[in-house]
Symmetry: C2
Subunit: 358 residues, 2 copies
Amino acid sequence: MKSKRFDTCCAMNLKQLAESLGLSQTTVSRALNGYPEVSETTRSRVLAAAERVGYRPNTRAKALATGRSMMIGHVIHQSDRHEMLNPIFADFIAGASEEYSVHGYDIILSIAQDGDDERVYRDMAAKGSVDGLILHSPKRDEPRIPLLQEIGLPFVVHGRSSDVTSTYSFVDVDNRRSFQRATDFLSDLGHSRIALINGLEHMDFAHRRRRGYISALEGRGIRPDPALMFSGEMTEAHGFEATRQLLELVHPPTAILSASPITAFGVRRAAESRGLTLGSDISVITHDDDLSYFRNGGDAPIFTALRSSVRIAGRRAAESLIDLIDRPGEARQTMLETDFLIGASTGPAPSAPRLRKA
Amino acid sequence: MKSKRFDTCCAMNLKQLAESLGLSQTTVSRALNGYPEVSETTRSRVLAAAERVGYRPNTRAKALATGRSMMIGHVIHQSDRHEMLNPIFADFIAGASEEYSVHGYDIILSIAQDGDDERVYRDMAAKGSVDGLILHSPKRDEPRIPLLQEIGLPFVVHGRSSDVTSTYSFVDVDNRRSFQRATDFLSDLGHSRIALINGLEHMDFAHRRRRGYISALEGRGIRPDPALMFSGEMTEAHGFEATRQLLELVHPPTAILSASPITAFGVRRAAESRGLTLGSDISVITHDDDLSYFRNGGDAPIFTALRSSVRIAGRRAAESLIDLIDRPGEARQTMLETDFLIGASTGPAPSAPRLRKA
DNA sequence: AGTTCTTACCAAAGCGCTTTGAATGTTGAG
DNA sequence: CTCAACATTCAAAGCGCTTTGGTAAGAACT
């Protein structure tokens, strides 16, 4: 079997291109890659010919020769097929990809099943399939961080990991401050019973949000009430169910902090099904990752929201990673600001909470 | 610069492994790849040693030598940064990935900007970076299909393209029949003014759904009313706005068909803000891709829905593609069934539509 | 005893590229 | 006119793997 399964020669290769020009491979390669030791006349001849025949160097060969794969790995974890697949991911990738493409990188996507984690990362390193990677959805104590440091592959974390003490590169939003601010805002409006419908709190971002919420309450001398704190997957159903339970309390909250716009839709549904109006009977603030397919209204936001674009986070993470690959060294750490958008879903605390109207 | 930017030798390579065993590269390679011309004793020695040192063949080298990259390309298109990034994608990929990993394939993800399409595909082919690819979100007349056929790269379409006459591989849901069935179901319940809040109709799936809707109406002798047909991005806001307009009609619909659960949430919000109850005052059926992060209720679905798991579609597409790469030949075409789940959002047409209650 | 088959291994070529080190022709200084 | 310096170009080695086309040793058959 002299010719491989496929004739690999469908597209012209360097050797053929060189022959067709009566030049050596060396010269053609140098001309294409912008090395100085090529005369300008030859270079333009080469470039023209390459353009004409649509020559693209074979990535695998190039990667093998240079030792760089020009690939970035994105590993997304999936505990089991019933747990939600992070919807954040699509937007993050879109942002990162803009940056990658400028620098000639491509994305390798890998879905790790539970327990598979370590193997996936070690394999990527050993097989040399990526030059660096992005670590998504860090937990409070994220074992993948020391793992990657040991392996020695450049990486940037989207988020942080509170219980990891070593220094690493990350791009994160100041979730703590953001939720503290939102809680303060509600307090200033006279709310004192403020509920939190959080994401899963083993995730670092959710843990930080809760800390922000609690420290704001404590700053006002309010004792956090466990009955007002929920934690779960950020689904519409979870927002609905938590709110339903909250509204059945003897002392229901007058304000709710929601971790995601999807959850917030559930909150609204529960509130409205009780005949409550958002912004007057009950106030709602949500975190909003500014997902492209789930916009919080148009120009006038439906929800008062802490907005931080995941897409921009993706781009910044990509920048840091590429920089880290090119110039290894100290960690690149980026904190992103959240915008605080005042929408129609918040207002002063009602003097006499109007509940169980229905 | 004799040693490349990075010492590539962090992980052991075949040569070193062979030396350490006192064997030739050939034998070790054969032992690892399960060729018969190796004695069982040697093979087990080799496997043990490989396991011990954590040997993983370098993908790039292997790809170069075999002519197969063991990569599948997923190109997702993005017209501009304001258009929504397909949320379907995450689930589809999760399904496909399960199949890929069994066969040793990895995913290369590429986001094509507008106008960039052709270049992205041609580049992938010329650079030899993938063995095949999945075509997402086909339009009614999808130019990428003839393009890929011309390029000669194996591909499977997720969906179909009505205006393309050539034969190609695909995995699709019978959208037409599905929406026809839903419309018939509503008719049987006595509804005659049935609205459609569809996706963007240059997308093939949306176009097919509309055809199903229309042919059901015509089968009942009902003339389709343009005032009852909406088309747009499948956002919550679109569902809300369309429903708001529908409910202001002189002859408002008594039932609504929605293209996505996200849209359906908007429909519900608009209906409920008018004081209408789903299932009694107005019926709603939605298509549901069974996205993991957006479940339609738990055991008892909120919406009556046409459910078809995108994740399963992903897996089937992956199967077809791998099969197509291994044994090129006639097209692999798969039609998936939708489940029709009866939820609480549908009921008999109200005899005297109860509208403008508020 | 010689011949053929098998079995178990190996050296070397090749995948398409980059990069080293050397060779050629051209120019300028001595 | 010679020699060094420079500008261009090239042949060949090497990246880590697979695969071809062997060889050597023993078993099996004449």
